[in-house]
Amino acid sequence: MKFIIAIIQPHRLDAVREALSAVGVTGMTATEVKGFGRQGGHSEIYRGAEYTVHYLPKVKLEIAVDDHVADKAVETIAQAGRTGKIGDGKIFVIDLESAMRVRTGETGPDAL
């Protein structure tokens, strides 16, 4: 199994989720995060001066998938998450040793 960690633009969350759904991946966990990268930050105005805020809001998705689904899932996220502008984010894949569903105690791919 693989554990996919994707950092995406917040406003692409719905699109990515729906695209994943379409390829059969329905379970996932999302977190609001602050992203630092090439995109830089943005500047806010405060009483006659501009202040730089170094980060930008991003959403992190964590998705555990069975091995054979992994590539498809990564591809799907990339396509649905892409706007072509800097700051679109990253997709990381890590090896997942085991998974368990808390409710039933099922393990392995069945737990996903």
Partner: protein
């Protein structure tokens, strides 16, 4: 004899001016700091309100308004001695207890304004001690000078609702405190934008509404003077709001909410001394002048002088109050819709009186504030430790956290 209508309006005005501090000013300031210091700011405001009330009852009112010398009142009205339920205040139609209360709300908000100078690093006990001493040593005498029959009143100085008494004193004390307490760690390079601009706007809105009590209440009666004071107050606030919006729009392409409502407060502070003497044109002029000059003053003090008067008390209140006091000399002319000059007075002579009031008050306030800060520093330190500052005053000084979502 007590006049019911005037009493009704001043009872209301008293509520409005208390509302300016609690929660108006408290929210205005709390939204401007970082989220880890929100509670400390609110706490300083509420504790100041409580402590000043007691100090005012014990001695402050007496020093300001009991017959005394040109320089200060006397102690004859300590604890409201001699002021009964039915005592009427002076020439007004108000119970003296009500005049006491109305004035008390001014004695609360003035030290509370100074809070903006030292947020996010001050020790709570230092705030308490400073405010109490300052009320007695600075605020009460200056009030006596202007409104209690003291030397400035004698000279014919015009300060309807506190340009000198409230805003110049608060602004000068703020600069003193800012310099003597020192900058926040990270100022100016790592200053963070206000944690809750919405809260700043809510506080400013409450200040705007409450200011009707402040200025129109200062007429001490429910009639034409109160109505015109309300009108010019509102016009100045509206104009200065637009001024900041336009400036930021031109300079950054984006007008900010915090900027707009800072303009509001600048307009309100500026019209305060003039509000009983001028007409609509005076209101517009104070709004324009206050808006522009306070904007420049923020830039000067914060970005050029690099003084960490953190929430711009001097730039907005001190400068606004001073400008309004000086402009009053011209705007009170009946040619401009004002009440006209006292016999034997001209715009020029009035201007000299106004300027004297501003300068002497500022100088006295500066010297006295420095001495008070030195005393406070000796009794209890001024600043929390660097660790506590980093942790935030909410938890470090008050054992609480602002947002537990």
């Amino acid at each position: 004899m007590i006049n019911g209508a005037d009493t009704a309006w001043i009872l209301t005005s008293t509520a409005l001016v208390l509302f300016m501090t609690l929660p108006g000013l408290a929210l205005f300031y709390a939204g401007l700091v970082r989220s880890r210091n929100i509670l400390s700011v609110l706490m300083q405001c509420v504790a100041i309100a409580a402590l000043m009330s007691v100090v005012w009852l014990v001695a402050g009112y007496s020093l300001a308004f009991a017959d005394g010398t040109s320089w200060v009142g006397s102690l004859s009205k300590m604890m409201l001695a001699g002021v009964g339920r039915g005592t009427v205040f002076g020439e007004t139609g108000l119970p003296e207890t009500l005049f006491f209360m109305f004035q008390m709300t001014f004695a609360i908000i003035t030290p509370a304004l100074i809070v903006g100078a030292f947020v996010e690093r001050i020790k709570f006990s230092a705030v308490m001690l400073f405010s109490a001493l300052w009320l007695l040593v600075v605020y009460a005498p200056v009030t006596h000078w202007v409104w209690g029959g003291g030397w400035l009143a004698g000279m014919g100085a015009k300060d309807f609702a506190g340009g000198i008494v409230v805003h110049v004193t608060a602004g000068v004390a703020a600069i003193v405190m800012a310099v003597m307490v020192g900058k926040r760690t990270g100022f100016p390079s790592h200053v963070q934008p206000p944690h809750a601009p919405w809260m700043v706007m809510v506080g400013a809105s409450m200040l705007w509404v409450g200011w009707f009590g402040f200025n129109a209440g200062s007429a001490l009666s429910a009639g034409s003077d109160a109505a015109m004071a309300m009108l010019v107050t509102h016009v100045s606030a509206a104009t200065a709001t637009l001024v900041w919006i336009v400036i930021e729009r031109v300079r950054f392409g984006k007008p900010s909410l915090v900027g707009a409502v800072t303009g509001t407060i600048a307009g309100l502070a500026t019209i305060t001394p003039a509000s009983g003497y001028v007409g609509p044109i005076g209101g517009l002029t104070c709004g324009l002048a206050g808006g522009v000059v306070c904007y420049l003053a923020v830039d000067l003090i914060r970005n050029r002088l690099r003084i960490d008067d953190s929430l711009d008390v001097m730039a907005v209140h001190g400068v606004g109050g001073a400008i309004g006091t000086l402009l009053t000399a011209f705007l009170m002319s009946d040619a401009l819709g004002g009440v006209g000059y006292d016999e034997g007075t001209t715009a020029g002579s009035q201007f000299l009186v106004q300027a004297t009031g501003v300068v002497v008050t500022a100088a006295y306030c500066a010297v006295a504030s420095i001495m008070i800060v030195m005393i406070v520093n000796a009794v209890t330190a001024l600043r929390v430790s660097a660790d506590q500052e980093r942790e935030g005053l909410d938890f470090a000084s008050h054992g609480e956290t602002g947002y537990n979502l």
